[in-house]
């Protein structure tokens, strides 16, 4: 099941610079997308979401961009901080109901001082 793909297993970014995490999806029925952050030994923590009627959503240092024609979304973190080091998961759901979240494999982000 490869409906949601995060092709970069890891990403290393210098503190203060921009981190860009990417996610692709194949199911055109997906209409709601979320990013979660996960630290070791903890559950996924919700970060930010975007509905398919929008192409951008911003919350503080986090911005999610959605390109529906390319079936691609990205998470921008700026400026990156050491506490941002974690595994980031992209997830998607499809109406109606939109209950089941389909997750990508995750990208491990490391912020270097």
């Amino acid at each position: 099941d490869q409906q949601v793909k995060q092709n970069s297993p890891s990403l290393s970014v210098q503190e203060g610079r921009i981190s860009i995490l990417n996610c692709d999806y194949t199911n055109s029925m997906f209409d709601y997308f979320l990013w979660y952050k996960k630290y070791p030994a903890e559950g996924p923590t919700f970060l930010i979401s975007i509905s398919s009627i929008k192409d951008k959503n911003e919350d503080g240092r986090f911005t999610v961009f959605l390109n529906k024609s390319a079936k691609h979304l990205s998470l921008h973190i700026v400026p990156s901080q050491p506490g941002d080091s974690a595994v980031y998961f992209c997830a998607a759901s499809a109406s109606p109901g939109a209950q089941k979240l389909v997750f990508g494999q995750g990208t491990r982000l490391t912020i270097n001082p």
């Binding site: 559950g43 919700f46 998961f89 109901g97 939109a98 209950q99 089941k100 979240l101 990508g104």
Partner: protein, 115 residues
């Protein structure tokens, strides 16, 4: 801030034994979910639960699995006869409602080890 809690944090059981994983969702949430993550693999949806019944389940959620809300606060996942391949992190989640703009909030997980 309200959070989803799960117990135990780690459960070791022998193959063929029954296990019950427990979760306390966020108190005003109405939808409850179980997901699992086998080591090195994706987080996978198992089941969603609303109004005291299953609303959606995956092909993983076969007859060996069941869910229950035995009282007003707990939400449980039972595996009747565990197999080695059931070893995974099991995450409980809850949401205020279903659909867009209703995020699912996850608990810290229970690590299940089947020997």
């Amino acid at each position: 801030e309200p959070e989803v809690t799960q117990t135990p944090s780690h459960q070791v059981t022998q193959m063929g034994q029954e296990v019950i994983l427990r979760c306390v969702p966020i108190s005003n949430h109405l939808y409850f979910y179980w997901y699992r993550q086998i080591l090195g693999q994706k987080v996978e949806f198992l089941v969603s639960f609303y109004n005291n019944e299953i609303s959606e389940k995956s092909e993983i959620f076969d007859d060996q699995f069941s869910v229950e809300r035995p009282d007003g606060s707990n939400f449980t996942l039972k595996i009747r006869s565990t197999k080695l391949e059931d070893s995974a992190m099991y995450f409980c989640a809850s949401s205020e409602a279903s659909g867009k703009n209703y995020e699912q909030y996850f608990g810290p997980g229970t690590r299940l080890t089947v020997t």
